[in-house]
Point group: C2
Chain length 497, copies 2
Amino acid sequence: MLTLRFLAIDTLRENVAFLHRHCTKYRVDDFLGLARVEVRSNGRSLLATLNVVDDVGILKPDEIGLSTSAFRQLGVAEGAQVRLVPPKPPRSFDLVRAKIDGAALSDSQLAAIIRDVAENRYSKIEIAAFLIACASFMTTEEVLGMTRAMVAAGTRLVWSDQCPVVDKHCIGGIPGNRTSMIVVPIVAAHGLAIPKTSSRAITSPAGTADTMEVLANVDVPMERMQEMVREVKGCLVWGGHVNLSPADDVLISVERPLSIDTREQLVASILSKKLAAGSTHLLIDLPVGPTAKVRSVGEAVRLRKLFEHVGDQLGLVMEVALTEGSQPVGCGIGPVLEARDVMAVLRGAPDAPADLRERALHLAGRILEFDPAVRGGAGGRRARELLESGMAMATMERIMAMQGPPPARSALGTLVHEVPAAADGTVTTIDCYRIARIARLAGAPNDKGAGIDLLHKTGGRVRRGEPLYRIHADTNANLAFARAFAEENSGVGLGHP
Amino acid sequence: MLTLRFLAIDTLRENVAFLHRHCTKYRVDDFLGLARVEVRSNGRSLLATLNVVDDVGILKPDEIGLSTSAFRQLGVAEGAQVRLVPPKPPRSFDLVRAKIDGAALSDSQLAAIIRDVAENRYSKIEIAAFLIACASFMTTEEVLGMTRAMVAAGTRLVWSDQCPVVDKHCIGGIPGNRTSMIVVPIVAAHGLAIPKTSSRAITSPAGTADTMEVLANVDVPMERMQEMVREVKGCLVWGGHVNLSPADDVLISVERPLSIDTREQLVASILSKKLAAGSTHLLIDLPVGPTAKVRSVGEAVRLRKLFEHVGDQLGLVMEVALTEGSQPVGCGIGPVLEARDVMAVLRGAPDAPADLRERALHLAGRILEFDPAVRGGAGGRRARELLESGMAMATMERIMAMQGPPPARSALGTLVHEVPAAADGTVTTIDCYRIARIARLAGAPNDKGAGIDLLHKTGGRVRRGEPLYRIHADTNANLAFARAFAEENSGVGLGHP
């Protein structure tokens, strides 16, 4: 038996077991062929990828080390006695092999795979194999089966006596598109339940949870969310600890580095999260534009149809809004700057970005029409009324108060660089991808006050040397990174329209 | 800049970089999205997968640790200053994405991928993605292009003024099938050059290199191999350090844990190794049987045709021999026991296993017919003559002498358990897979004297309680493991034929 050691190495969602090369109890070579071991202790077991340590300073020959996630998952204390057995790959991997050979999998087969994925029984290469097999071809029935399986493999929230429970989700890719923080107070002010869980940014300069955290606490326990839905009909919280569709998180941890982005996986991912969150009615914001995630209307329509088909089969009332996605929304990009724009819209400030306001009103209007009491076509007007009357702002204040103050005060980054226009002209294009990249280099979202403040949107006229946008940062190093990248290519195209 | 530290953690062919969570120079979060970093130092660079350390005992916040292979590949001393840049996935990965979408890749596209794979620029999940995309479909042209690219990405041996250079290769799966150690001395005694490089066992109880190492040193430098080919026409060495088709080794390190075994990858893998080894003529031993790798004649013929087609296009003279694969070959399984059988055949001992002898003679005969001076159909007779005259044994002795003595003396494991027949009957089946597994549990190939000695082959009659085979081991623990597994199911089927 080996003695268990916690090795504080975070292997990013892969369970890793560390053995010393000259392990006194097992022959390491016996496990190298498959590069995996099954770890057993106190009646619990775990499949882990094997790493071999050649340094007794890190691990002793009679010890086994487990990485952060593996240690947590095994759930046994340090010092416990551990036995190793030759690993059997999860039985469901035979089904992945069948899928590679061209099979379409049944609901129960997909459920077996997804269960093992959610329980971290798959190694990263096994997950990659599953994703690529699915990327080659996947029937609509399989998308449906996979979505159901993903919901079943995690927690499912129930909002007792709230029906409908509405939600919105944007497929992402457009910086500054922070409409949720306007839509939720409007819809909640109308009286529809909209308990919104959002993510933090992973590759973008801000997620809704990052931006909301400038204004309020977003790490809200489940009981408080239930209370908020009863009292103010809405919340704007971080969804990270609720264990909604955990298989989705595991799959994404491999999809992202591979940049494998299929329609089928996107639909299963989003709908499983929303069903798990207890939503009954869902509006998807699907921006289309040359630097957005979806680049043509044809592609957008195919994606919309798949969303609708799968949503219908799963009993979700679905709307998909194809929206403008040719440039960032609003002016600010980065948590503090986006929060500023959102609050300007909610307050009805005259200089609030009109595109952000109109987009939020359009989406809120479509959601309000989920309410049987709202006449077809009347949602937009109702949304505007709730915004202009200040009722949405009042609801936002109640939401912020109930969530509590933010964990830290955030201020706009005081180090500023203005990126000048290289010539006289009219702004013809703004590259969403590049602008997001520059904002991240400036420090967003970790430095909440870092980011970009756009001074012109497309159609705006500038003279040579006038600033196109301001970069805000907290540190000189980040400002220099972002500036150098912007000097290479500002992301703003000038021309004569 | 960070200070470079060697972290003696062998991450099994994946380059891993370790950063402290509270890294003082970079924000770890910025790299978590893609889970990779590009490491630069002294004009050298490396792509590595990121792990995050939370223990200053392992790594300090101003350090970067590299795993064994990553450190070796970067080739910069500990203490050097290191810069990190956001990783760009290898450019050739776009081609993998095209392949996933159904494209057939050109020779130059495959070459770009294979080059990056050989240089360890792909992460394991990227390799898995490439393998699965190829497993879904691959044209014959692609197999050809991939084989060429794999040869080009490594060392290619040249055996000056030796033509033909012959070789044999078994696709594996049959325990005890140690014909190379008989075929090489026969063919070399005839005068054909046969510089045989073999592998050590990875998942089987013995590779040819493991068994030969019972008799002689197998870790032979290139110059000595050249000398041996000139003087005795043959050698039997370990091919591990010659860097033949290194991309193959990388691909196999992912294929094996996934148990993804496609015809196309098998052909590219074997032919690339053989071409890189400088072979001009090649005989493939392709065993067919219910527990072999290839289970039906139809499957075997398809595989044979692919071998022939690709071999022809690459200018290799190829023969594929479909052989009996329904049970182990010879009696001994495990290095010492197999070496015993091989030497018995070479010495002409009356109790030498006839099946091993006849199989080796058949294969050697077919190889001898690669010699233009040998009449079609006369190879078998010539092989028998070389064996029975003792010339093959004399050549084997010269080969052993030139390779030098083994690094350690090996003796048969002295702990023995006899597995008894459960009833009277005739042996009808012997499960290759199960027998191999039991031999490995007994300690083979690491304990060279461990393994199985079959006392009956199919057709043999036994009485209840009589031993079917003996398990040999060096330690009580291994004997107990192997015995328990054999008691569950001995792998030997009894019946009345």
